[in-house]
Symmetry: C2
Subunit: 616 residues, 2 copies
């Protein structure tokens, strides 16, 4: 559907791909790991920090011990999820996101709740990740702080363009930084441990640790745990995107999932441990990772490498959402629960409408929250864990119902997964409720309602349009039909004549119709018409309120010219086509408006006869 | 053209008016004075302050003497202009704005330069006045300072609504505050003089007067004078709007102009004199007028009355622009130099498109400049004086050329006016050039260029459309015409059948055309078509790049079905009409897109057959 300015589009988006080229756009394990897991891996950059934000203001120095406990719990939860999702990949070779698994096994509403929760979370992922990416940049270069919203928006736009170019190219484009991040962070962790345990460096916190103002409570600990659970967002992406892998896609997907768990264990565990060793203090000027690396590397080149790769991977984390949401929307669109446009592949064979919508919504969030992740965090993660729970519960029910090989073992794993993620979802929901999670509890039912309305609409439209095979085209009896053709006139010019000429080819029962909004102009027209002297009747109606469409509709409805219930009145309208794009601004778009109104009548056909004006 | 939601519109805008009701919407002298002059009268609220902004930082206490000199010069200039414009009103009973006078006597380009300058200045007037109005409000209630942009935008929106309601009602709505302002300021002036000269009050400046850092220079004085000239903006409105007055409109307009001059003399002169007596110091927290009234009234009720009426009249000053610009644009549109829509009267008989555009542009300016008048001021007034000069020069040339009664005397007055306003324009241009006036020097030629392009476009379109009276409708020979009718098909449903039925009424040469973008869907369609078993050929074209319009256009162009140069190919398209407004979002708007592309071909007629889906 590309027209004009194709060159620029080609340069920006890459050339159009044929439908047959779909197969070659698949991921290997090596490139699949970074593109499917950058979200999960990158979240360590803020998950640890979010835990400390909860603990440090209350229990001061004690925070670091409880942070470690919370991190261990989160890593355990992650391994549980990894095992559960391996089973999902086995059971759903064509992609088993929560939406599909829940819909399949628990029914439509459960599926839609999972779908809605994920949709919201994907949008938040892009907003949060790109804001956090900007925070990493401004931690290294504080003079950029005033421009953080602009920087964040630019990052999102780059993501949109990269993703519009297509899956495989984006994985290469986005894969390298992920590997760079993993390597540089692992190097920092190893060097940080050596520095303390072998060289004997005594950590000197960059910021003062506040005095404890209270003591640890179960609620506080759960809140810290809930905040850290953001680290697990994005795991879903692998099982949702099974069809994106090279054949054998299930095997490749499972390998990527296992590798992902390993990397998160090393990176998240390592950074949490370093944070306790080096006593990083969360604040709004410098990120926790920046504080740690600053102590380890003394602001030498490695400090900047860490900041740069952190920024990059955070931005690319948003990319997981760009890989996940358009696919999810396409699934839902195919089932009729989302507008059909989301199921249509764009010029580069990706679901371009989903990509563009995701970019737009996340930019809105960034602008509204002025580029601060902190306000968005409480909304985040609830949705992910709701969808985790529904997906695991769906798998559990599937094993129990279908039985099959080793079904008890499989049901146990998914059942445990469902229980754990359910408890986590409840914990997150309760501890973060007043801070913003309530928004999700309103938004999800609302989105589910909209999705059901959309499905209803499509179903009704399909029913109304369904053609019984015995309803054949009508026999035409050219003599009995009155077939009025109305040609509206404003000025007697070539464009009108062209419309009139066409009208005469389809009927000999023509009425010229003029709506008078200016007496002088009408007089002039009638004089000219008489002078023109052709034997076709003209009818003039005065329009005191200067509306053109009103009198026309009234005339069509009026008894003497009314068509029978099966007859169609044809209105032939000249349309002025200007070749210059700005030309259309200069003409009253009356004919367009008239058409829109007339289209709402059943027994009408509107003929548009273009008259093209070529300008030099 | 009002459809649906008419009740809300009626409530907001007043009911639609018939074209015949135009006459009753005219102004008397009593209501004409406030509506035509609020700009000129209100500018005293900032004109004096702008003079002090230039002088005080340099020459300190000495400023007040030179402020008085500048004010006297400005008042003299105003009287000169009043005399000049009285002659314009006499000569141009149907409204003699600078655009018309300059175009009439000096040629099109001069007219357009005046028109462009005025257009820019009218937009600035609205932005500057509403910002200044907000400043008067925040001077009285400092806690509102953080919301100044929002307040300013709200004020503009109210102005737009008021003006959309129509001329006469807006004059009453807007007239009373102007009189209140005049009364309360005159009271303040009288009481301020009594307090000093009779009661013996020794003025105690609210803010400290800065030490002089330099001495007066001619350039500095001219700059101060130039800044004060903003007081004269808006005088133009009266002569531009002669037709808005009740009959005899010329006499009434001249009376209003004389009264206007008197009021400006009293109010501007009085406030300037008070500022020198009470030593007001310009700053960003409190306006000069606020400082004066604070000393005179000790923050009693009268202080707040002054602030409130100042705020009101400043906002209403923007109203002068709302009375002036739409009329100016309508004049230019009638001559073809602006889009025709500006010459169309809205439901309340005013030029609603001009009103809406003015509101939109000034809101943009307010947002961009964050509600601070100070940055906009240098752009202001240059345009007004350029148009003054052109208008006076035009009048001068008119008298010299036409001669007539007492022409020497008249030519002398307008010639003197032209010279004085020209000198002023040069002074403003030079002294404010680097502060922003340069923008105007770029913008005016650009706008003039656009206006000329528009005129060229309309002229070319009219020439191409002109119908020679001997070119009659074609004789139709029903037998010789091939008249192909193409009916595109996507799904075999009722909507397609309706289109097909219509197609059969206009031709027996029908081709069903299908663009295949999905092999499975196409197979299904063809099976169904064979099963449907009607004797009409179907043609299928594969579209590898998933474009529907490309193969269709190619097919129309293809040799075997090509129409002769005079034949027309008809494409009949079913259009899915959904009664719910949001329904359209849910359907691929492919048919709309196809129509837009097909319309660019000469030998085509597009028939739209609506199929209406009523939802419960």
């Amino acid at each position: 559907m590309s027209l004009g300015s194709g060159k620029f589009l080609n340069r920006l988006m890459g050339k159009s791909l044929k439908t047959e080229e779909l197969k070659s756009e698949k991921l290997s394990v090596f490139w699949g790991l970074p593109i499917m897991s950058s979200d999960a891996i990158s979240s360590v950059a803020y998950a640890g920090e979010e835990i400390l934000w909860v603990l440090v203001p209350v229990i001061g120095l004690m925070s670091y011990r409880y942070m470690l406990y919370a991190s261990i719990l989160i890593v355990l939860l992650m391994f549980m999820l990894t095992f559960s999702y391996r089973q999902t990949i086995d059971a759903y070779p064509s992609g088993g996101g929560s939406y599909i698994v829940a819909k399949d096994n628990l029914g439509t509403t459960a599926g839609l709740v999972a779908g809605a929760s994920l949709t919201i979370d994907y949008v938040l992922t892009v907003a949060v990740s790109s804001c956090a990416g900007t925070a990493a940049i401004t931690s290294a270069v504080p003079s950029l702080l005033p421009y953080k919203v602009g920087i964040t928006l630019l990052l999102i736009v780059l993501l949109v363009i990269g993703n519009l170019r297509g899956v495989r190219e984006s994985s290469k484009l986005f894969g390298i930084p992920t590997y760079l991040f993993i390597a540089s962070v692992l190097f920092m962790i190893v060097w940080g441990l050596i520095k303390v345990y072998f060289i004997g460096y005594k950590p000197a916190p960059v910021f003062k640790i506040p005095e404890a103002s209270g003591s640890i409570t179960i609620f506080l600990f759960l809140k810290a745990f809930a905040s850290g659970c953001t680290a697990l967002t994005g795991i879903e992406a692998v099982s949702n995107g099974v069809p994106n892998f090279k054949e054998p896609s299930q095997k490749h997907a499972k390998m990527v999932l296992a590798l992902l768990a390993l990397v998160v264990l090393l990176v998240f565990g390592g950074i949490s441990y370093l944070a306790t060793l080096y006593h990083a203090v969360p604040n709004s000027q410098e990120t926790v990772v920046a504080q740690i690396s600053q102590q380890i590397f003394n602001k030498n080149i490695m400090f900047y490498v860490i900041q740069a790769t952190t920024a990059l991977i955070l931005v690319l984390a948003g990319n997981t959402a760009f890989a996940g949401l358009p696919q999810l929307l396409a699934f839902m669109a195919k089932d009729g629960y989302a507008p059909r446009q989301f199921a249509k592949r764009g010029r580069r064979l990706n679901y371009s409408n989903g990509i563009i919508m995701l970019g737009f919504l996340s930019c809105m969030l960034v602008v509204i929250f002025k580029g601060s992740t902190h306000y968005l965090m409480p909304l985040y993660a609830v949705g992910v864990f709701v969808s985790f729970t529904l997906s695991q519960a769906g798998m559990f029910k599937r094993w129990v119902k279908n039985k099959g090989f080793a079904w008890r073992h499989k049901a146990f794993i998914n059942g445990l997964g469902a229980s754990m993620t359910f408890v986590t979802a409840v914990v997150i929901g309760i501890t973060k409720f007043i801070h913003g999670a309530w928004v999700v509890f309103i938004l999800v039912p609302f989105v589910v309602y909209i999705m059901k309305r959309i499905e209803l609409h499509y179903a009704e439209a399909a029913r109304e349009l369904k053609l019984p095979m015995d309803q054949k085209p009508k026999k035409i009896d050219f003599t009995s039909q009155k077939r009025y053709v109305i040609v509206p006139i404003d000025t007697l010019n070539k464009s009108f004549l062209k419309a009139l000429n066409y009208a005469r080819t389809i009927s000999d029962n023509i009425i010229i119709f003029h709506v008078s909004i200016d007496d002088d102009a009408t007089k002039k027209l009638l004089n000219k018409w008489n002078q023109y002297n052709v034997d076709i009747p003209i009818i003039v109606k005065k329009s005191p309120y200067r509306s053109i469409v009103g009198p026309l509709v009234k005339f069509i409805e009026s008894e003497e010219y009314a068509a029978g219930p099966d007859d169609t009145v044809t209105v032939v309208m000249p349309q002025f086509v200007v070749t210059r794009w700005w030309g259309n601004i200069l003409h009253n778009q009356t004919s367009l408006f008239i058409k829109t109104v007339l289209l709402k009548r059943r027994n009408i056909a509107i003929v548009t006869v273009p008259y093209i004006i070529n300008e030099r």
